[in-house]
C-alpha cells in the first residue's frame, strides 16, 4: 500500500484506481516475489497519507470500465464482483488515534509451467498463466482472495492478539467495528491500548517501530 498515492484532499471519500493486466510475465514475476515483504505493513508514510485525507473511507481497485457500477458496489460484494481495495477507519480520542485498515487482496504462489496462455478472471480464485517472453519460462499463479486487517495505535502496529484481548468484552469484535473516519471507542478500549503501549513490547523491524507476533499478552485488563 505504500506504493499507492493518496491525494491530500480534505473532502475525499472514495478513491478508485483503474488497473490493467500485466502485458509481460516479468511484471508478474517481479511482483510475486514481494509477497509478505517485511515492509508491507501500515507504515508511517501510509499513515501520513491517510491523515492528509481525513474523510477517505474506501480505496478501490478495479479493471472494470463501468465506473458507476464499481463505485456503487457495496464493500460486502467486492469479492463477488472482482473489486479489491481497502476500507479505512479511524477512531480518536484527544491525541490518541487508532487506525484500522482492512484490505481485500489475494495471495498468489508460483506454480508449474502452464500449458497455455490464459488471461482474465475476476479475481475470485481463478488461475492464470502468462508466458515469459524474455527467458521462455512460464509462470502461473493461483490467487486466493482474503480480507486482511491491520491496526495502528498512535503510529504503532497493534498485533491481532492484542486487539482480540482489547475487544473481548466489547459487543462486537475489532474486525467488525463500525467503519468510518473520526469515530469513537469506549474508554475501556482506549485504556487497554494505553496499557499495552506502556508495556513496551515493541520491536524494531526494518528500522521502524513495530510489534512482534507475540507482543500482546493474552487478556489485557484495565487496572
Amino acid at each position: 500500500m505504500q506504493a499507492i498515492a493518496i491525494p491530500a484532499l480534505p473532502a475525499l471519500e472514495t478513491l478508485l484506481y483503474r488497473t490493467r493486466h500485466p502485458t509481460r510475465a516479468c511484471e508478474l514475476q517481479a511482483d510475486t516475489i514481494n509477497d509478505y515483504s517485511p515492509t508491507s505493513f501500515l507504515d508511517p508514510a501510509t499513515l501520513r497519507q491517510l491523515a492528509a485525507a481525513p474523510r477517505l473511507a474506501t480505496i478501490r481497485f478495479s479493471r472494470d470500465d463501468d465506473v458507476d457500477l464499481t463505485l456503487s458496489t457495496s464493500v460486502s460484494k467486492w469479492s463477488v464482483t472482482g473489486i479489491r481495495g481497502a476500507v479505512v477507519s479511524t477512531y480518536s480520542r484527544g491525541t490518541d488515534q487508532l487506525v484500522h485498515v482492512r484490505t481485500l487482496t489475494r495471495s498468489r504462489s508460483r506454480l508449474q509451467t502452464a500449458p497455455r496462455q490464459e488471461f482474465g478472471g475476476n479475481g475470485t480464485g481463478q488461475s492464470h498463466s502468462i508466458p515469459d517472453l524474455e527467458d521462455g519460462v512460464e509462470y502461473s499463479a493461483h490467487e486466493v482472495l482474503r480480507w486482511e486487517h491491520s491496526t495502528s495505535y498512535n503510529g504503532v502496529i497493534v498485533p491481532a492478539q492484542v486487539m482480540d484481548s482489547t475487544f473481548e468484552e466489547e459487543d462486537s469484535g475489532w474486525r467488525h467495528m463500525p467503519e468510518g473516519r473520526g469515530l469513537q471507542l469506549s474508554d475501556r478500549v482506549w485504556l487497554c491500548l494505553a496499557i499495552w503501549q506502556d508495556s513496551g513490547k515493541q520491536v524494531a523491524i526494518g528500522g521502524r517501530s513495530h510489534v512482534g507476533r507475540g507482543g500482546g499478552p493474552a487478556g489485557i485488563r484495565p487496572p
Binding site: 491530500a8 473532502a11 475525499l12 483503474r18 511482483d31 509477497d35 465506473v67 484490505t103 498468489r108
Partner: protein, 376 residues
C-alpha cells in the same frame, strides 16, 4: 472485417498465399445470384421462419443478396413475425444466431425508416412542437434534413443526441464525412431549453466547431462530447488563443463528460467549456492523453508559476466539484497539481488510471501475516 484489418493468417504470423488464382464467375459459383432479386424475394417470402433460418445459414453469398431485400421487407412489413423464435426442428443454433443478427440489423433499419418519416414530417411543423427529445444519427442523413429538423424544434427540445460519427467500415468505404457540425453551427438557431446534449463528433470536425455548437445551448445541465478515434476533431482553423471568449456562461451545467483520443487541440476545448461552467459538480475526462511535457503544456513552455497546465487550472477553480474521473494522464501530474492549498476542496470521489498492474495489488497487504484472516 474492414479494409486494412489484418487477416487471421497475418495475425498469426503466417504469410497468406498470394498466388493468383482464376476464380469462376460469381453466378457459376452461386446460382442464386443469377435469379433476379424480386423473383428471389417472392420465393423466399413463401418459406417458413425455420426454413429461412436454415437457408440463411447456408451461403454467405446468398445472405448478402437476401439481406438488403428480404429481411428488410419482412421486418418492415411483418415485424411481429420475426419476434418469435424459429420453431422448425431443422433450425440449428447457428441458424438461430444468424436470424437474430439479421433481426437486430433490421431493427436498426426500421429505426432509420422512422427517422426518414420524421424528416418527411418536417413539412408539417405543427406536429413537431411537442417534441422534447431528438435522437439523430447524423451520418445517415443529409445536413439539410438534420438542420430542418433542428430548425423546427430548436426552441422546444430539452434533450438532443446528435451522433455524427462514422464507423470504421463507413469511413473506409466512403471516406470522411464533410464536416456536418460546421454546417449545423451556421444553420441552427439557439436552443433555449436544451439541458442535455450528447454529441458524438465525426471526422473533419474541429474543436471550435464543437464549441460553436455547444454555445447554442446556454442552459445546458449535462454535456457529453465523444470522439471515436484520432481522426476526429482535426483542427481545421488555427487554435484560438482564448477559445472560451465566444461562449456563453453555462450557469446550470453540472455534469460534463469528455471522451476523446489523443489530440493536440482537445485541452483547449475542455478548458474553454470548463472555464465557462463555474458550477460543475461531476467531470469525466477519459482518454485525453494530452502530452504533459510537449506541445506547450509543460511548465517550462508556459512559464514558471503559471500552473501545471490549462485544464488543471480550470478544474482547480471549480469550488463545487465533487466527482472527477481523471483517466487522461499521469496521476503524478495530478498529485503535483493538488499540492496547491485550497484546490479541489470539495472533491469526494476520484477515479484515476494509476497504471497499476492488476495482478500486483497484493502490495495492498498492509499488515503482516499475523493479521491474516483467510476466506472472504
Amino acid at each position: 472485417m474492414y479494409i486494412g484489418e489484418p487477416t487471421h493468417q497475418y495475425h498469426r504470423g503466417i504469410m497468406p498465399d498470394t498466388t493468383f488464382k482464376v476464380m469462376p464467375p460469381a453466378t457459376a459459383r452461386q446460382p442464386f445470384l443469377a435469379i433476379p432479386p424480386n423473383v428471389l424475394m417472392q420465393i423466399m417470402s413463401e418459406l417458413s421462419q425455420g426454413d429461412l433460418a436454415t437457408f440463411a445459414s447456408l451461403s454467405s453469398s446468398l445472405n448478402a443478396l437476401v439481406e438488403p431485400i428480404l429481411w428488410k421487407h419482412l421486418w418492415l412489413q411483418h415485424p411481429a413475425s420475426l419476434e418469435a423464435q424459429p420453431v422448425d426442428d431443422r433450425s440449428s443454433s447457428a441458424a438461430i444466431t444468424t436470424i437474430q443478427r439479421r433481426r437486430a440489423r433490421y431493427r436498426q433499419a426500421a429505426k432509420e425508416r422512422v427517422l426518414q418519416i420524421m424528416q418527411a414530417g418536417c413539412r408539417k411543423p405543427s406536429r413537431w412542437k411537442h417534441v422534447r427529445t431528438v435522437n439523430v444519427i447524423a451520418y445517415r442523413f443529409s445536413t439539410h434534413h438534420i438542420a430542418s429538423i433542428l430548425h423546427l424544434v430548436h426552441d422546444n427540445i430539452t434533450t438532443l443526441y446528435l451522433h455524427c460519427a462514422q464507423s470504421s467500415i463507413e469511413y473506409a468505404r466512403w471516406g470522411p464525412h464533410d464536416g456536418i457540425l460546421s454546417k449545423l453551427g451556421d444553420m441552427v438557431e439557439p436552443f433555449p431549453l436544451l439541458d442535455h446534449l450528447d454529441l458524438v463528433v465525426c471526422h473533419n470536425s474541429s474543436y471550435d466547431q464543437v464549441l460553436r455548437f455547444v454555445g447554442l445551448a446556454p442552459h445546458l445541465e449535462r454535456l457529453r462530447v465523444v470522439a471515436r478515434d484520432e481522426l476526429s476533431l482535426i483542427t481545421l482553423n488555427h487554435p484560438l488563443d482564448e477559445p472560451w471568449l465566444g461562449l456563453p456562461a453555462f450557469q446550470r451545467l453540472h455534469t460534463i463528460t469528455f471522451d476523446f483520443p489523443d489530440d493536440d487541440g482537445l485541452p483547449d476545448l475542455c478548458t474553454a467549456i470548463i472555464m465557462k461552467a463555474p458550477h460543475l459538480r461531476m467531470v469525466t475526462m477519459r482518454d485525453i492523453w494530452a502530452d504533459l511535457e510537449e506541445g506547450g503544456w509543460s511548465d517550462e513552455e508556459r512559464g514558471e508559476g503559471e500552473g501545471q497546465f490549462a485544464y488543471f487550472d480550470a478544474l482547480s477553480n471549480l469550488g463545487e466539484l465533487e466527482f472527477l474521473d481523471w483517466r487522461c494522464g499521469s496521476f503524478q501530474a495530478f498529485q503535483r497539481a493538488i499540492q496547491q492549498e485550497g484546490v479541489f476542496a470539495s472533491l469526494k470521489t476520484i477515479v484515476v488510471d494509476g497504471n497499476i498492474i492488476d495482478e500486483s495489488i497484493e502490495r495492498l497487504e498492509v499488515s503482516r501475516p499475523v493479521h491474516a484472516e483467510w476466506g472472504v
